[in-house]
Symmetry: D2
Subunit: 404 residues, 4 copies
C-alpha cells in the first residue's frame, strides 16, 4: 500500500466534523480518490463526494461510506483523541467526536479503492464510491439523491456498505432481510408560560411539563407495545431554561423512535403524540406542543440473494467462524435510500472494531454492557489494527463479488 | 431636572448586561454620579460603583440600586425592546433583557441623587450611593462587601433600597419584618452513562433520571412542607443531550429554593438532597449526583422602627391609600447583606410599575396572573411614567427621612 | 359527679362505630341525657340524637358533639385499645378506631350537661344538645338538618362545639374568623381495559394511569397554587386490581381537598379535574374518568363577637396563658352547617389532649411531627385526665357565657 | 358420548372457584373419572385429583388440566355468566370467573378420558389424569408434587397438557423449545406513616410512594432491558387507604414479572428491587419495603423430540394449515414442574377458542387487540363449539401418540 491508512484514520479521528460541515474530510477523501485515478465530483448533496472508476463492461456497484462525526466530547483518553469543538444547529458550542466510527468507514473505503484499483485487471464493471455526509442527521443520503446522484452518475446494480461496531475485530456480521431498524427523529417544543422562579402559580411550568412527558413516554414501550415486538422510544435531549430563578416559557425534547418492523411506525408515532399532547393538557398549556419530524429512516433490509452471495464471499475470505448473523440492530441508517430509490439490492454489513481478547474477557465477566463502549458513547474507541485491514478486505471482497 | 431620565431608562433597557458583565451600565451610572458632584469609586466588587456625597454632620445612609439584567429573550414588542445577546456562565449564547426592572432601579436612583443634590441645603449627613452588580446571581452584594465596601467608605447607619414590581404605578408596598424570602440556588449534575439512542440498556439514561427527579421534587412542597408554611422548589433549568439519537452521559438541573422562614432552610435542603440522591439510586447510577450551592440568600427583613419611620414618610408623600402592606414576597434579594454585615437597620420597599387602569381591569376580570407579566417574564414591561417619578420621589423621601 | 366519665370514655373508645352506624353510641348518649332530665329525640338524621333542656326564658344554645369513629386499625397499644372491625361503604372489612377523639367529645358533652343541669338555678334559657353522626363523611350535620332539626327543635341563637387535638392538655385554642378549612372529597374511577398481566398492550393499564395521576396531582399544590395560599390535595386511597397477573379494568382514587379560603375551591377543583382527565387521555382511555363529589364542607368560620365573648370566658376560667390562637387548621368540619343554615353565630374551639410534659419534651427535641400522633393516625391517643375535666369545663363555661 | 360435555362446561363456568378452594370442581371431576373406571385419589396437594387408568404394558402419560378460576367479575353478558363471589387470600370479597378457560380444560380432559376409555383396546400403557388446583397462584403443581404425586402414582414418561387461547377455534398452536415465559410474582409492602389527610407533612405518604414506584418501574422495561429481549413488568394490583381524609400507613403492590429467557430473571429482579427500595428512600421512608415472592414459575419449554411427534400427530388429525407455531407466549404456567421434577419430556400446546369468522373479521379490521378479549379479561369468553370437540381430540391424539 502506498497510502498510510493508519495515519489517515488518526488524522480523521483528530479532526471530526459535524453533519453537513464535513468540508475538510470531503476534501481529503476527494484528494485520495483523484490520486487513485477516479473521476471525482464534490459537493454532491452539500458536502458529499462521488468518485467513479469505470473499468469496462459489467455491473455498477455503489460502495458507500459515511463521514460525519457527532456532538460528543471525547473521553477515551486516546493519544489521538479529538479536542475539536463546533457549533451545532441550535447554535450551541459542542465537543465533536468520531463516536460512531465514520472515520474508520472513510479510511477502509480509501484502502479498498486503492486495492480495487491495484487489481483492476482482475475485474470488470464500474465502481461508484459514495462518500456521504450527514448520516447522523438521517439527511445525507437524501441530500445526495435530491442533488441528482442517480442521474448524474452511473446507476447502480447493487449498493454495498459497512459499519464498524463493538464486535471483536476480525468478525463480520451480516444477515439477509431486516438488518437495522426504521427510525423517526422528532423535535418537540412544549409551550408553557415563563415567569419568576418564586411565583410558579403565575406560570405554566414547562420543566415540569417536560419531566412528566418523559416519564409518561416510558409507558409506550413498557405497556403499549406488544412485548414480542421491538421498539425503542428514547428522549436523547431535554432542554429548558437559562437560570435557576427564572421559569422558562418553553422546553424542548428530542426523540429517537426505533422499530425494525415498519408496521409499528404509525402506531408508535400515534401513541407518542397522544402522550405529548395529553401531558401538555395536564399542565394546562394554552397551546398544543409543536412536533416536528427531524428525519424518517426506513428499515435497512438486506436483499436475500445478494446478501447470500456476499456472505459466501465473506466466509471464503474470513472463515466460517468469523461470519455471524448479528441479529437485528435497533440502530438505523439512511444507506437504504440509495438502493430504494434506484430499485436495486442492498447489502450492508457490520465489522468488528474491538480487541478480541478484551472482548472475550468482558464476555466471560458479563461486563460487555458496562465495559465495551457502544457507538455514540464518549468512550467509543476502535482498535486500529486489524480493524482497518478487515474493513478494507471486506469492502474489496464484496465489491469483487459483484464486479467479477 | 437636567438629566433626561426617560432617555436614560430607555438606553439602559436597550442595552442590558448580564451579571458581573455590567461595564457599560456601571460607566453610565458612575458618569452621572460624578457629574452630580459625588466622589465615585468604580470596580467595587468587580463591576460595582459607589458614590459618596458628604454633606455635613449627620447619619450615613446607604441607598442601593442593582443594575444587572437576565438571560431572557425579550418578547414585549416595545419599540425600545432589547435585542441584546451574550454568553452565559455555561458558555451558551442567550438573549438578554431587563426582565426584572433593574434599569428602572438605576434610573430612579440617578434621579433621586440629582434631587438630593439639588436640595442639599435642606439636609445634613452622608449619602452613599451603591450601584450593585449581579443581584440575579445573589452574588453582587457579597462581592462588594468582600471588596471592603464597609471599610473603604463611610459605614451606614441605615440601608435603604427599592424594587419595581407589578403593582399599579403610584403605589408603594412596604412592611416591617419579613419582606422577602430566604433562598438557595443549587446546580445539580446527574451522572448517568451515555450511549446510542437505540441501546438504552447499555446506558444509564440521565434524561429519565432528571425527569423522575423533577417529578419527585414536586412532592417536597406538596407533601413534606407544612401547608401553613411557605416554601417554593423550582427547577428553573434542565439540560441534557445534544442530539436525539445519543443518550447523554449526564443531565443538569438548576434549582431555586425559597422559604421566608429561615428555619425551613435546613429541612427543605435536606429533603431536596434526599430526593435527588434517591432518584439517582433508582436509576442505578454509579456515582452520586453532584450538588453545588450557587448562592445562599438571607431573608429580607425590614427593621421595625426604621420601616415605621419610612412608612410614615411615604404616607405623607403619597397618601395613605397608596401605601400598602404587600405581604411577604417569595422572591429573594441580596440587599440584606449590606445591613447584616454592618449590623444596621434595613428598609426595603416595592413600588408599582403597571398602568393603573390596566391593572384594575385585570383585577376585575380575574386575569392578573395571566395578563400582568411578572418579574423575569419575557413580557415584563414597566410603564415609564409615572414609575420613574414615583421611584425618584420614594427614594428621596426615604433618604430625607433618615438624613434630616 | 354521679356519672363515671372515665368509664364512659373507655367504653366508647373500646366500641367505636363507623359513620351512620353509631347506634350503640347514640343509645348510650341518649340514655344519659334522658337520665339527666332532658327531652330526648333519637334517629334525627339517621343515627343522630337531640336532647333539649328548657330552663326558662333566654337564649337558645346548641352544643354539638360528633360521635363517629374511623376505619383505622388501632396501634396505640392502650389497655383499652379498640379491636373492633366493621364493613365500610365499599363492602370491605376494616378495623375501626376512635382515631379522631369523638369518644372524648361525647364524654365531655355528657359531663358538661350534667354540670349545667346541676347548676340550672344559676342560668336561664334553653340548651339543645346535638349528638351528631357521620362527621367523618361530612354528611351528619346535613343529614340532621335535612331531617328538620331546625324546625323540630328550638332554633339556636348561637352554636358551640369543640374538638380535642394534639395540644398539651389544659390548653384551649380558639380564634375569631377562619378556624378550619373548606374541603371537598372526591371519589374518582379511572376506566382502563383489563387483561392478562403478560399482555399489557392488549389492555389500557389503570394502575399506571392511577400512578401517573397521583404524581401529576402533586403539581397542583407545588406549581399552580400561589405559595402564599394554603391548599392541600391528598389522595387518601388508591385501589386497583385483585391479583398480580391480572391487569384490572379500573382504578379508584379518593381525594381530600382543603382550602381555608373558599375562593380557592373552584380553582383547585378545576385544576384537579383537568389533571385527572388529561392523564386518562395520556393513557389512551376510551372513557373519561368518573368524578363523584363525596362531600363539600364549608370553611369553619368563628363569629367575631361571639368568639370574643367565649374567649374572654375561657381566659377567666383557664388563665390567659392557656388560651391561645391556634392558627388556621387545614382540617375540616361540618359543624358550620348548623350555624349557616340557622343564620346565627358559631364558636368552635380546640382543646388539648396530650400529656403536657410529653408534649414539651417533643417540642424541645423537635420531634413533635414524628412523636405526637395526630388525629386519624392509628397511634392517636388522648390522655384521659385532665382532658375530660378541661373539655367538660370548656363546654360549660362557653354555654354559660351565652345562657347567663 | 354419554357425558354431556356442554352441560359440564356450563356448570363449571357458572360455578367458578378460587385457587385451592376448588372443592366442588374437584368432586365433579373425580366423580366423572370414577364413573369412567379410573382409580381416583382426591386431595392431592390440597384440592387436586389424580385418576389412574392402567391399561397394560407401555409408557406412562401424565395428562394435566388445571381447574381454578380468577377473582374477576364477569362482564361477558353470557346467559351462563358467573355471578359467584368469594373471599380472596387478603379477606376481600371478590367476584369470581373462569376468565382463563380452566373450565374448558377440565371439560376437554373429561371428554378425552371418556374417548381413551372407549378406545382402550387400541392402545397400551398407563394414563394418569392430573386435575390440578391453583395454577393461577403458580402453586398447585408444586403442592401436588410436595404431596408425593411422583411417588404415590406411576411416574410419567411424558407430561402433556393444553391451554385454550384466543385463536380461531379449530387451530392448534405448538412449538418445540420455549413456549411460555418464566415468571415471578412479588407482593410488596411500602411502609410510610399515616395521619390526617390535611396534615401531609406529619406523614410519610405511601400513596405517593406507591405511585412514584409504579412510574419508575416502567423504566425497567423501557430503558434497562435490551430491546431485543422480552420482559414484562406488570403491577397488577395497588392498594392503600380506606378513606379520602386519612393518609394510610402503608401501600401494597402486586407485581408480575415475565421473561421467556430465564437468564433475565436475576437481572430484572435486581432492577425491580433497586427501584422499589430507592423510591422508598426518596419518600424518606423509615423502613425498607417488604418484598415477598408469591411464586416463581419456570419457563415452559417443550421437549424437541416429543413435541415433533405430537405436532406430526396434530397435523395428521387437524390438517397442516390448522397447526401453527404460535411463537413464544409471555404468559406463564406451572405445568413444567411435573416434567422437571420427573426429568421427562413436556409437550404443552394451545388450542383456539374464538369463533373463526369473528376472529378473521377482527384481523381484517386490525381490531384483534381491542375486540378479542384475552385470558384474564372480564370479557373472556370461549366459543363452546367446536372448542370442546377440538380440545377433546387434541388431548386424545397426543395421548395416543405416546401410548400406542
Amino acid at each position: 500500500m502506498t497510502i498510510d491508512l493508519e495515519a489517515l484514520f488518526i488524522d480523521l479521528h483528530r479532526n471530526p466534523e459535524l453533519s453537513f460541515q464535513e468540508t475538510r474530510t470531503a476534501a481529503i477523501a476527494a484528494g485520495h480518490l483523484r490520486d487513485l485515478g477516479l473521476e471525482v465530483t464534490e459537493a454532491v448533496g452539500r458536502t458529499g463526494v462521488i468518485g467513479v472508476l469505470a473499468n469496462g463492461e459489467g455491473p455498477v456497484v455503489w460502495a458507500r461510506a459515511d463521514m460525519d462525526a457527532l456532538p460528543v466530547t471525547e473521553q477515551t483518553g486516546l493519544a489521538y483523541a479529538s479536542t475539536a469543538t463546533g457549533i451545532d444547529p441550535e447554535g450551541h458550542e459542542v465537543g465533536i467526536m468520531h463516536a460512531c466510527g465514520h472515520d474508520m468507514h472513510v479510511t477502509a473505503m480509501i484502502g479498498a479503492v486503492e486495492e480495487l484499483v491495484r487489481t483492476r485487471n482482475e475485474w470488470s464493471g464500474t465502481l461508484v464510491v459514495v462518500i456521504q455526509p450527514a448520516e447522523e442527521y438521517g439527511a445525507g443520503a437524501r441530500a445526495m439523491l435530491d442533488d441528482g446522484a442517480l442521474d448524474r452518475f452511473p446507476r447502480p446494480d447493487v449498493v454495498i456498505g459497512q459499519h464498524v461496531t463493538p464486535f471483536p475485530a476480525g468478525m463480520i456480521g451480516v444477515r439477509p432481510g431486516p438488518q437495522m431498524s426504521a427510525s423517526d427523529g422528532l423535535h418537540v417544543v412544549l409551550h408553557g408560560r415563563g415567569g419568576h422562579g418564586s411565583r410558579p402559580h403565575s406560570t405554566i411550568d414547562p420543566v415540569v411539563m417536560a419531566a412528566a412527558t418523559v416519564m409518561r413516554l416510558q409507558t409506550v414501550v413498557s405497556r403499549e407495545v406488544d412485548p414480542h415486538d421491538l421498539a425503542v422510544v428514547t428522549v436523547g435531549a431535554i432542554h429548558a431554561g437559562t437560570k435557576n430563578n427564572i421559569i422558562p416559557a418553553e422546553a424542548t425534547l428530542d426523540l429517537s423512535l426505533r422499530y425494525p418492523d415498519e408496521a409499528l411506525r404509525e402506531k408508535v408515532l400515534e401513541k407518542v403524540e397522544r402522550v405529548i399532547k395529553a401531558e401538555a393538557m395536564a399542565s394546562g398549556a394554552l397551546e398544543d406542543p409543536t412536533i416536528e419530524t427531524l428525519h424518517t429512516l426506513p428499515a435497512t433490509i438486506n436483499d436475500a440473494a445478494a446478501t447470500e452471495r456476499a456472505t459466501a464471499a465473506f466466509r471464503a475470505a474470513f472463515g466460517d467462524a468469523n461470519v455471524i448473523d448479528p441479529g437485528l440492530f435497533t440502530g438505523s441508517e439512511d444507506v437504504s435510500w440509495f438502493a430504494r430509490d434506484a430499485g436495486v439490492p442492498l447489502v450492508f454489513w457490520f465489522w468488528g472494531g474491538v480487541d478480541p481478547v478484551r472482548y472475550a474477557t468482558a464476555v466471560a465477566n458479563d461486563t460487555v454492557d458496562s465495559e465495551i463502549a457502544t457507538n455514540h458513547s464518549p468512550f467509543f474507541a476502535v482498535e486500529i489494527h486489524p480493524t482497518i485491514e478487515v474493513g478494507v478486505q471486506a469492502l474489496t471482497v464484496a465489491a469483487r463479488e459483484f464486479l467479477d
